[in-house]
Amino acid sequence: MTKYIPYLLYFWLIAMHQVFLSDVTSIFGVKINLPLLIVALVAVYKEEIEILWFGFFVGLIGFQGANDYMIWQVLMVTVIGVVTYHFKERLNLESLFARLILVFSVILVHNIFTLLLELNEGFFNTLFVNALPSAVYTTIFGWIFFLIKNDRLTYKKIKSIF
């Protein structure tokens, strides 16, 4: 049972991000797609069944305010989570660069999907102004996560810089 506690914390982290941090961390309207970043990271490190259910619940919780699109988001996030897991299984993701490419692709695909769901006109404009920068911005956080996870970015190292 205790193995599910981190997932519960992820859900609260996503909710907290949507309520507080999303606006605070946005740069020129470009926001971090935290739900998908967490789904991608869980897909990289966890098992298929876990990411299947995790994707489902992230879709429900992370896109709670999406009204008519919520169910489509649930479907999309679940599918993205499972597909990412299978990519991880079939590809060599030892290098940091490969992982970042995967995270970037996952987030970009989701951003494009969200655009298609919500946008009526100006698709390409929003793609280049918002969806693509959002994927890059979110990937930067993924990069920081991988650096910390692989002990390449530690408190000692940061301290030694300053």
């Binding site: 859900f11 609260w12 996503i14 909710a15 907290m16 949507q18 309520v19 507080f20 298929e48 069944i49 299947l52 259910w53 489902f56 429900l60 919780i61 709670q64 305010g65 919520m70 169910i71 649930v74 479907l75 679940t78």
Partner: protein, 264 residues
């Protein structure tokens, strides 16, 4: 039993996938009622703790901003009051030299509107102050915007305010700059107007209209409205002056009753 267990563990992956697909399909075809219920549950369990914190923070920030603004306003008001007090002392001194009666001073009694009545526009309001609070008929009622009306009847714990929008209510008024006088009244069709202003008077759009204090009910200097249209009709001895009321009668909340006390 063991067989079922083996079958179950063999197809555990398919069972999970099927469960998720069934759930998604169920959500997809479920009515908006189910979806909004799920939304509510998610909102209460995951979002509401953070929403409460965020709203409290925003509220605190607003209170802080209001506090700073009001502190600044208080400083400005204090400076103005000191100037006015000096002018008042001078006024009293000169009035006593001339042998005039001392002017009454007023204290403000705050009150809350309990109910408002009127079909198209509010014409009267019931407030939560009465005889027990030393309220009497004909006491003027104001708010921070200007003159609202007068107390028309009073009981032990409540009173009725006759608003300026009541067509039977009249205010003796004057133009702030030119000091010329007229009578302010309200008509449900044409709105607030300043009547009995002779065509020799100097008036223009934007002029402020204040109570003149001559009617015996309202003290002088209370803001009543602003001139928004001046019509001079041929062969008529008076202007037709339309006013914008100083007070928004549709959003009355806190009001103040002016209680007179004779200056010693």
């Amino acid at each position: 039993m063991n067989k079922i267990g083996n079958l179950f563990s063999k197809h555990i992956r398919n069972i999970h996938f099927t469960s998720v697909v069934i759930l998604i399909l169920a959500l997809l075809f479920a009515g908006t009622y189910i979806n909004s219920y799920i939304n509510q549950v998610v909102s209460v369990v995951f979002y509401s703790p953070f929403s409460i914190v965020k709203n409290s923070y925003l509220e605190l920030r607003k209170v802080n901003e209001d506090n700073e603004r009001l502190s600044q306003a208080l400083i400005n008001a204090t400076l103005k009051i000191s100037v006015y007090e000096e002018a008042e002392r001078e006024n009293q001194r000169l009035r006593s030299i001339l042998g005039f009666e001392p002017k009454p001073i007023y204290s403000l009694l705050p009150a809350e509107i309990v109910s408002i009545s009127g079909s198209y526009i509010p014409i009267s309001a019931i407030i939560n102050r009465g005889i027990n609070d030393s309220i009497a008929v004909d006491m003027p009622v104001i708010n921070e915007q200007g003159l609202i009306g007068r107390i028309s009847s009073v009981s032990s714990d409540a009173a009725v305010v006759q608003l300026l929008t009541d067509p039977s209510n009249r205010v003796a008024a004057r133009i702030t700059d030119s000091r010329e006088m007229g009578i302010v009244k309200y008509n449900s069709r044409s709105g607030m107007s300043l009547d009995n202003l002779p065509i020799q008077a100097t008036i223009s759009v934007g002029d402020e209209i204040i109570s003149s204090g001559l009617g015996g009910v309202y003290p002088s200097g209370l803001k009543v409205g602003t001139v928004n249209q001046v019509v001079k009709e041929e062969l008529e001895p008076f202007y037709t002056v339309h006013l914008d009321p100083a007070v928004n009668f549709y959003s009355l909340e806190e009001i103040f009753i002016l209680r007179e006390s004779i200056q010693e």
